[in-house]
């Protein structure tokens, strides 16, 4: 809740909260994450207090089709960042479906070589719904890792559907992993990914066709008119299973990071924060409106007319809004 005394005239001076999580208490961080997952109200209040401590980590999103080797790549990146002294958080989104998760979770086991490293914190989250979409708590978990002082946070998506779009709402740098052999049919998808990629990572660079993937990407990038102020995505070839190209990839990430640290980068961060705010606004407003609408006499009447097709969904919504908040249109 905004305190009205903290208006724009108040000097911008932050009293940073002192908290066990910020002092390195890993157990407290893990508990807070679990409580946020379980939607414990006190956890939300705690995160609210900690929010001023966020916004310092560099968040890297990793997306790409299932089987493109994202988990192995993330494992290698963790190693490379650790070697130069970064502390790393990893948010791994797993498919929420009970099927097929096995292999993907199997890959995740590789991450265990970092499990004895106190500088690495890994947290898995189930994807939202059938076909992907980042978990609603993704932003919260990133925030907690940020408070923990992780300098780099890597978010690995399932690489299916909505979560590929969602990742750009959280990540400072988005790596889109491509592999040879998926055929021309994915061109349309690749074109869409142009909009979200900071860097294209061509993995399995030892396979036939890797150079063709690079050429295809270069050709798309040369013809594509990107939005003004957006740098052309770089392309880096790697062979994640052998650690080849990882150093070059880290360099490219650093370059993107420093490129985006000017006022453009700050604007992007602000825009992302506002986007999160408007998402919260939409969902909270809708939830509260439904709570007030459902079971009311007006709801009974409007829904009955809708079922009889005497009123269309859009007009029914207009009528409901008038009932709920008194806004006529």
């Amino acid at each position: 809740m905004a305190d009205n005394a903290q208006g724009p005239d108040r000097p911008v001076e932050r009293v940073m909260p002192d908290h066990a999580i910020a002092r390195g208490d890993i157990g407290a961080a893990a508990r807070l994450m679990s409580d946020l997952d379980d939607e414990v109200p006190a956890a939300r209040a705690q995160l609210r207090q900690l929010f001023p401590l966020t916004g310092r980590a560099h968040v890297i999103g990793v997306t790409g089709a299932p089987g493109s080797g994202k988990s192995t790549l993330v494992d290698q990146l963790v190693g490379a960042f650790r070697q130069r002294g970064d502390t790393v958080g990893v948010v791994a989104i797993d498919p929420s479906s009970p099927f097929g998760g096995g292999a993907i979770l199997g890959d995740r086991l590789r991450m265990q070589r970092h499990s004895v490293d106190e500088g690495v914190f890994v947290r898995s989250l189930a994807s939202r719904g059938y076909l992907g979409g980042l978990s609603r708590s993704t932003g919260d978990i990133i925030d907690v890792m940020d408070v923990m002082g992780k300098t780099v946070i890597i978010v690995e998506t399932v690489g299916v559907g909505q979560d590929e779009i969602d990742i750009m709402r959280f990540a400072d740098t988005v790596l889109v992993v491509q592999v040879p052999g998926l055929g021309d049919d994915v061109q349309a998808i690749k074109a869409g990914l142009l909009e979200i990629a900071s860097i294209f990572v061509v993995n399995k660079s030892d396979l036939d066709g890797a150079d063709q993937v690079v050429r295809d990407l270069e050709s798309m990038l040369s013809t594509k008119t990107l939005r003004p102020g957006i740098a052309t995505p770089g392309i880096v070839k790697v062979q994640a299973t052998r650690g080849r190209g990882i150093a070059e990839l880290v360099e490219a990430v650093d370059r993107h990071r420093s490129d985006s640290h000017g006022s453009d980068g700050m604007q992007t961060r602000h825009r992302r924060l506002e986007h999160r705010f408007y998402e919260c606004l939409r969902e909270a407003l809708f939830a509260e409106a439904c709570r007030r609408f459902k079971g009311s006499a007006a709801a009974e009447r409007i829904l009955a007319e809708l079922r009889d097709r005497r009123i269309d969904p859009s007009s029914a919504a207009t009528a409901a809004i008038e009932q709920i908040v008194g806004w006529a249109s």
Copy 2:
């Protein structure tokens, strides 16, 4: 807007609107669709009047990965339905990206063999956003075709991301097209599609591996506990390029249609209609709230605190809602 005089006590007696589109004026239908696309307010009002004439067509959604042969399959289905006297509407969702659309649009040209058939009406729509998602006007276009008296309406998705989920909001029967050769990596995706498929169509049944795809699907279906009241999806092998298996597929569609015509089917239709209503409610409420919020003094203050990370997005939303509608929480 709901007329309050039309309360639940009013006898359920519909005065069906008389309209050129319902009388077969194809030009009027095409104009209305264009106007809906262009968001002409009068078009929305017209559709509102026509809404009581909707709900009669059987809507078939066709989804599956790019390259799985959806367009060829739809072309064959149109032919089969026409042969037995159905009139058919086709809504083809095209990727909105300028890249890669060529090949897909090329496939669509096959549909031209139906272009001289007055019993077939084809309408293309651009997908929403980068990575799919049905166009916002998909429901409207289906409604207009329904008013035109089309007995079958086929909606062909891009088969990427969100639009695969969206289709279940509109279709009575969802065909999920699978092809051999996409590898085990898509198992997780397939598992997700179990939730939305009425019928799995294994296309390119002449290729090696088609029987394996069928066995994989059968194995998944046998282990999967489906929600109560939901029939186990059928599996039909076809070779769309040669028209093989199409008769069997039409039979399976008919079976699914009659299975879903009981009270369960009516409940599903009502639930879909209510879902469309709640989607409209969410979006209209949010749009109006933003209109009232943006540029206000409260907005300036709340967004400034957010950018400084003095307030988190969720608390900022709570504060904004209190300002906009006076709901405190």
